[in-house]
């Protein structure tokens, strides 16, 4: 076998542009990060296929998180929109986006969330949509609240929306979090800071956007998503 051995590489943060699996400041990573080196599959074996979703998988109402109950949710109504792009900079059409988030008070509709902030009977906090022909997407929701967690004393997560994207290939799958500009909690958050490079971290922060701000109705935030991994050096 030795002549056909696959290359093993230590986990890389690609020059600070991605998190490492092990990030001790984020306590839950300590017992969950793999310790053995990773196996590098040769390019010829890379699987560029992935699942395809269609209009049958989403309803138009899924993209409006403020219209899923009888009443309006409390909080600051916002429009979150942007484009899903491939690493070539071109829009990825027809790909499925899924989002989930805390309500305006910083509470998730989840049995394990024990933060003593109120649930909102008019807010579930989940949405989905397909990108259009140019890779564009648009959600209407409320701005999520910051909330405490038990990672370290007085730990608080900056406000964020969780986001899942499928892209063209299964291995391009991205799950990330979108943050809001100017959050004072950024510098204290080990999850946000797990991306060491400030420019890469900035790619997790949405931009306030006049163009999508709807007069007398909702503030607009813009968040473009680029799929594809940063290449690593192949070393024997």
């Amino acid at each position: 076998m030795s002549d056909r051995r696959l290359v093993r590489v230590e986990d890389s943060d690609r020059g600070g542009r991605e998190p490492r699996y092990l990030h001790p400041e984020y306590r839950s990573s300590v017992k969950r990060a793999p310790a053995a080196p990773l196996v590098l599959l040769p390019e010829a074996l890379a699987d560029r296929t992935g699942p395809v979703f269609g209009t049958g998988d989403v309803a138009a109402a899924d993209a409006d998180l403020t219209a899923q109950h009888d009443g309006d949710p409390l909080g600051e109504r916002i429009v979150v929109s942007g484009r899903v792009l491939g690493s070539d900079g071109r829009g990825v059409p027809g790909t499925l986006l899924e989002i989930w988030q805390a309500n305006a008070a910083g509470r998730y509709r989840h049995g394990s969330d024990r933060h003593p902030a109120p649930l909102d009977p008019n807010f579930t906090g989940a949405g989905r949509c397909l990108t259009d022909a140019d890779g564009r997407y648009r959600f209407v929701t409320v701005k999520p609240g910051a909330y405490p967690w038990r990672n370290h004393p007085n730990a608080w997560r900056p406000a964020h929306i969780h986001l899942s994207v499928f892209g063209r290939a299964f291995i391009d799958r991205l799950v990330t979090q979108m943050y809001f500009p100017g959050d004072p909690l950024f510098e204290f958050d080990p999850i946000f800071q797990s991306v060491r490079d400030p420019a890469a971290r900035q790619r997790l922060v949405s931009a306030f956007d006049w163009e999508t701000t709807a007069p007398e109705w909702a503030l607009g935030y813009r968040f473009d998503i680029v799929l594809g991994s940063t290449p690593i050096e192949e070393s024997p």
Binding site: Y21, I99, T176, A200
Partner: protein, 161 residues
């Protein structure tokens, strides 16, 4: 702006967004040739991981599905028996997301009764025997068992994403 958007953890509350509809059947249970796969996601202390989600992709069959783990770290998937393709032995590609994982883990599940194809597989055959063993499911209760060990003794072999 064409630099990739960095990954962030799926967190503890992903079931709201990712598990609201049942998707653990890649093909309907009871479909011709459907095979049930059960397994557990286990951390470096040997403890079950109750907040992970396992996604499966069968490239040859074009089937996709996912399942969040329960309090015991268990997941369940139903799929058509995967076929081989492109000189590779039949397998499923698996992505694991969890609280504590800042980016997903990629692995593969091969079939225990495909000894010949597994021996010739360009990935399996190029791994050490102990690594290879972590990627082959075991027969159980008419279906298959496949545990995913994130760290420590018997850690599952993971691939670079």
């Amino acid at each position: 702006m064409t630099e990739p958007t960095p990954s962030q953890t799926v967190g503890p509350f992903f079931t709201i967004g990712l598990c609201a509809r049942p998707q653990q059947e890649l093909v309907p249970e009871g479909a011709d040739g459907a095979v049930a796969i059960s397994g557990r996601v286990i951390d470096g202390d040997g403890e079950p991981v109750p907040d992970a989600v396992v996604e499966a992709w069968d490239r040859a069959g074009g089937h996709w599905g996912r399942c969040g783990t329960d309090a015991g770290g268990a997941f369940h998937l139903v799929t058509a028996r995967p076929a081989g393709a492109g000189g590779e032995a039949p397998h499923l590609a698996l992505l694991v997301f969890a609280r504590g994982l800042l980016k997903p883990l990629l692995t593969r599940m091969y079939l225990p009764d495909e000894k010949e194809a597994n021996t010739a597989d360009p990935v399996l055959s190029a791994l050490e025997p102990d690594e290879r063993a972590t990627l082959v499911a075991r027969p159980a209760d008419g279906g298959l068992t496949f545990d995913i060990r994130l760290q420590g003794e018997g850690q599952t072999t993971f691939f670079v994403l």
